[in-house]
Each structure stands twice: as structure tokens, then as C-alpha cells.
Subunit: 311 residues, 2 copies
């Protein structure tokens, strides 16, 4: 076994940081580390926190982390939100809390770039989460900005997805498209001290009442993350959701579904890389030119590319 | 050559409808039709119309179509918006205008399902647009609801992308994320008779002034689609954008970029289908189970699947 992985398994945080960097660079070295440490993963409770800009996701993440630390739990945090105070832009109170967390040996934070202005998680986020999981953290929290694509992807990655809602933006409910609410395991109305909070809770309840009978109805919780209020209840609700997943058999189903999606997605990526390697830039450029000039249709061009690597 | 394609090229609208259905079903027959008619495509000006719910996209599409008919031009319309009045939900005035268009032999309309509640165009939309293009329409208009993913995809498909904005929703500018505005070739403030229209125009101008120097700045036009006002100016602006693309060399670059993306995307799809065909459901299920149980890492599992089809 790799010496770096040995140090990682012994709890060396510098080894953790180096392995994450390797995995993020999508190097062969990173994949080898991942292969060796993967059997140690699968124990952490992965929590996704998502919601619109300004909903207070980062503050909530920090406050939830502090709550878990009070309970003696360890955690990894991955912030994909580009405006996350983990990287910059925090208000002072947040920044102090974040600094406390940064100095805490029971917490490991990492920020990751998203796929660009229009959303989508980094392709290596599954691997980064698996590394943190294997390191032995009790919880891994992924905080991501609520663009549509991110929210779908986070639900495929997290066991418990928390959708943070913000009263007083005036268009709260409008923004909750039917599809978005379906991926949420827990709904949080943050800034519960805001006068519009109770209205928002009622609106969410009304929206949930439209869900098909028999479907699990996500609980709606109120928090005021800035004052650390409602966090014990949120941590309890996350625990209850985890227990529900395990008892209902849903956990096993989800793990299998997620594994299937992930394996097929990586396989597709591998094949695409092979096509790129097997096709010279001239061949590709010439094919593309013929398609652009309408001399060849794109399906026939794609068949030719695929033919370069397929049996 | 296929007899259906012959009838299609002779201008038979029933042949057009049948070929679109074949292409949408992703059948081998559909691909063969596409192969034969593809050389006849590439002449239509493809226009994408996108924007938030309630911005008046459908009314604008109908009014723009009527303007082109007055100019003696023919057009195909693809409505991806699930709430489009082309399918249902139109107010009366719209519905009458739509019916007129439906009876017009110079217009062909088709509605397509999107990829689901969370956005994304149907995977076959490129092919459907190519078929309409090859049929000989002067313009093909794609109308899509403004979810983030749709908007990125429509910009890769349309030569001219029109972002429709709606005054008076209170959160107009907030909704215009930096990335979204970058894909717009023309900005339209619809419902120009609304008191907030001029404020919205100023806000958009301020937003555009932040664009990097040297970049083409999209024009901002005011329309009142319900009263058919501002449509001649919009049609002129679309024509000017088309001329700009051709003169600047941007047209050729875009066509090549789009062809490259499309070919690689289809190639990836072909490879995934081959993997599915070459891998028994038992083998896949067993691999997935081992990954879910953390006995095998997903990269190694994916390598095994890829190995089933690679040379």
C-alpha cells in the first residue's frame, strides 16, 4: 500500500490534503490512492445543503458544524458555493465562527470550484467526498449554491439533502419548482426571526400537501443560523432521516442507484478520453469541418469516432 | 434514397411530420433519414427564444412568426416550453393567432417535451431542428422555458439567442445571472407598455456596461407582443445579428464549435449504448453491488465496463 495512504489511514491531515489534491487533479496517482482507501469509505453521513443565493447556507453550514462538534462528532466540509465565506465574502460574525472551525482538529474544510457560472458540481466531487468519508469523519457536509443542475447532482451524492429557504425575498415559493422540492429530505426556513418566516412555513406546508400520498413528507424546520437557534433540532432531524433511510431499505437502494450512476458516468468519461487519444486532432478537425459544412451528418461522424476505439 | 425523404425534399409536410417522429424516437430509420437529408440543412437562421416564466415568450414567438410571414418568409417552430400555448394554456388572443399560424402552409409547429422538471432540452432537439432546416424553412424558432440548463443548450443550438425579460416582476435583474446574459445575442423587454419597462431597460444597460471592452454588446429592444408592437425592429435586429455573424467570421467558428460538441456528445452516447449492450444485467448489477458495498472503487468498476467494448 502507498505510504501516503498509510499515513492517511493513521489520521494524518496533511496526507488527507495531499490525497484530495491528487484526486482533484484526476491523476493516475489519485485514482490509485482512491482505489486503496475506498473500502474504508461508506460510513459517513453525507449531508447536502443547498438553496438560493442569500438563503444563509454558509452560515447554516457553520452553525450545524458547531452543533455536531458540541456532540463530539467530527466532520468534513466541502464548499462548492463560489461566494462561500469559507473562501471569502463572509460577514464578520461568520468569519470568526469559520476561523474557530478551521482551527478545530475535528473539522476539515475544503472549497472546490464548480463547473462554471451556470452551475454543476465539479466532476471530482464524488471522489473528494469519498476521501473525506474514508478518513473517518462522522459527517461530510457539501454546501452548494442553488443552481438547478447543482441541486440534482447534490441529491445524487448526499444521503440527506437540506433545502434552505429564505423568507422575505418575495418570490420564495415561485423559486421552489416542483422538481426542486422533490429532492429535498429536509426543508429549512432560515432567518426564522424574519417576520415572513411563518408565512413561508405555511406556503411550504401547502406545497408539500400536493405530494403523492404515501410519499415521505420532508419535515420543515425553522433556524436562525446567525444566532445558532434551531440547530439541535436540525441535527436531530438529520439523524432521524438517516435512521428512516436505513430502516426503510431506502439506504441500500440509494447506494446502489448512486453507484450505478457513478460507474456508468465514469465509464463514459473513460471511453471519451480513449476516443480523444485514439483520434488525431487532424482527424477530429476534418470530421467536424465536414459536419459543419453539412457534408456529413453528426451521427455518422460520431460512429466513425466510436469505431476508432470499439471492438 | 428513401422514398419518404424524396417526398420530404419535394415539400410534403406529412413526410416532414413522419421524419420528425422517426428522429424523435431515436430509431435507426430516423438516423438514416437524417443522414440523407442532412446535406440540405444549414441554410435556415435558427433563433432561440428564452426567458423566465411569464415573460411572454410564446406570445412573442407567435408575433415574430406573424412578422416573418408578412415578409414572405417561411418558418418552423419548436416549442419546448411545457406551458407553451402551442400546446395549451394560451389566453384567447394568443390562441386565435396560434390557430391562424397553424393553418398557414408557410409555418410548421411542433412541441417537444423537455428532459423533465429540472430543465434541459430533449436530446433529439438538434436533430429535429436539422430536419426543419433541411425542409427549407427560412427560419426555425425554438421557444424554451428559461431554466438555466435550457438556456445554455439553446445558445449552442441557435444562431441568434433572444432573452425575453419581463418588467414588473420585481426581481428582473436578480434573475439575470452573469452567465445567462452572456449567452444572449439580443435582449428583449416585452410588455413595453408596462410602467416598469424603461427602468428595466436602464438596468439592463447598466448590466451590459460591465461587459468586457471589445465584446459585442447585445441590443436591447422593447416589444409589446400582445399588440404586435416592436416586431419589425426585432426581425431587423435578428437580421443584423445574422449579418454580423457572417461578416465577423463568428458564424463559421460557431458552426464548427457546435458540430464538435454535437459529434462528441453523440459519440459518448453511442459508447454508453455499446457498454449497455456488451454488459449483461447480472455483470452490471454485481459490479454495482460491489461498489455500493465499498469492496470495489467506482473507477476500477468503470474500467472493467469500458474493457468490455474497447479494442
Amino acid at each position: 500500500m502507498d505510504e501516503l495512504v498509510e499515513r492517511f489511514l493513521a489520521g494524518d491531515r496533511r496526507a488527507l490534503a495531499r490525497i484530495i489534491s491528487r484526486v482533484e487533479s484526476e491523476s493516475g496517482e489519485g485514482r490509485e490512492c482512491l482505489r486503496q482507501l475506498y473500502p474504508h469509505s461508506g460510513k459517513a453521513h453525507i449531508i447536502g445543503i443547498t438553496g438560493g443565493a442569500g438563503a444563509g447556507k454558509s452560515t447554516l453550514t457553520g452553525a450545524l458544524a458547531a452543533e455536531y462538534r458540541r456532540r463530539g462528532k467530527t466532520l468534513g466540509i466541502v464548499a462548492v458555493d463560489p461566494s462561500s465565506p469559507f473562501t471569502h465574502g463572509a460577514i464578520l460574525g461568520d468569519r470568526i465562527r469559520m476561523q474557530e472551525l478551521t482551527l478545530d482538529p475535528g473539522v476539515y474544510m475544503r472549497s472546490m470550484a464548480g463547473r462554471g457560472a451556470l452551475g454543476g458540481l465539479a466532476p471530482t466531487i464524488d471522489d473528494v467526498v469519498a476521501v473525506m468519508d474514508a478518513f473517518g469523519f462522522d459527517y461530510v457536509i457539501i454546501e452548494t449554491v442553488g443552481a438547478g443542475q447543482d441541486e440534482v447532482e447534490i441529491a445524487g451524492l448526499a444521503l440527506t439533502t437540506i433545502l434552505v429557504n429564505n423568507p422575505g425575498t418575495g418570490d420564495d415559493i415561485q423559486a421552489l419548482k416542483a422538481g426542486i422540492i422533490e429532492i429535498a429530505d429536509i426543508l429549512v426556513v432560515n432567518k426564522a426571526d424574519h417576520p415572513g418566516a411563518d408565512v413561508l412555513v405555511s406556503q411550504l406546508q401547502a406545497l408539500l400537501s400536493l405530494a403523492p400520498a404515501g410519499a415521505r413528507r420532508p419535515p420543515i424546520l425553522k433556524t436562525t443560523a446567525l444566532k445558532a437557534e434551531g440547530l439541535a433540532e436540525l441535527a436531530d432531524a438529520i439523524g432521524e432521516h438517516g435512521a428512516y433511510l436505513a430502516q426503510s431499505g431506502e439506504l441500500e437502494r440509494r447506494r446502489a442507484d448512486d453507484a450505478r450512476q457513478q460507474v456508468l458516468s465514469i465509464a463514459r468519461q473513460i471511453l471519451l478520453e480513449r476516443i480523444r487519444a485514439a483520434t488525431s486532432e487532424e482527424e477530429l478537425a476534418e470530421l467536424v469541418l465536414r459536419v459543419a459544412a453539412r457534408k456529413l451528418d453528426p451521427h455518422s461522424a460520431a460512429e466513425q469516432l466510436a469505431g476508432n476505439v470499439l471492438r
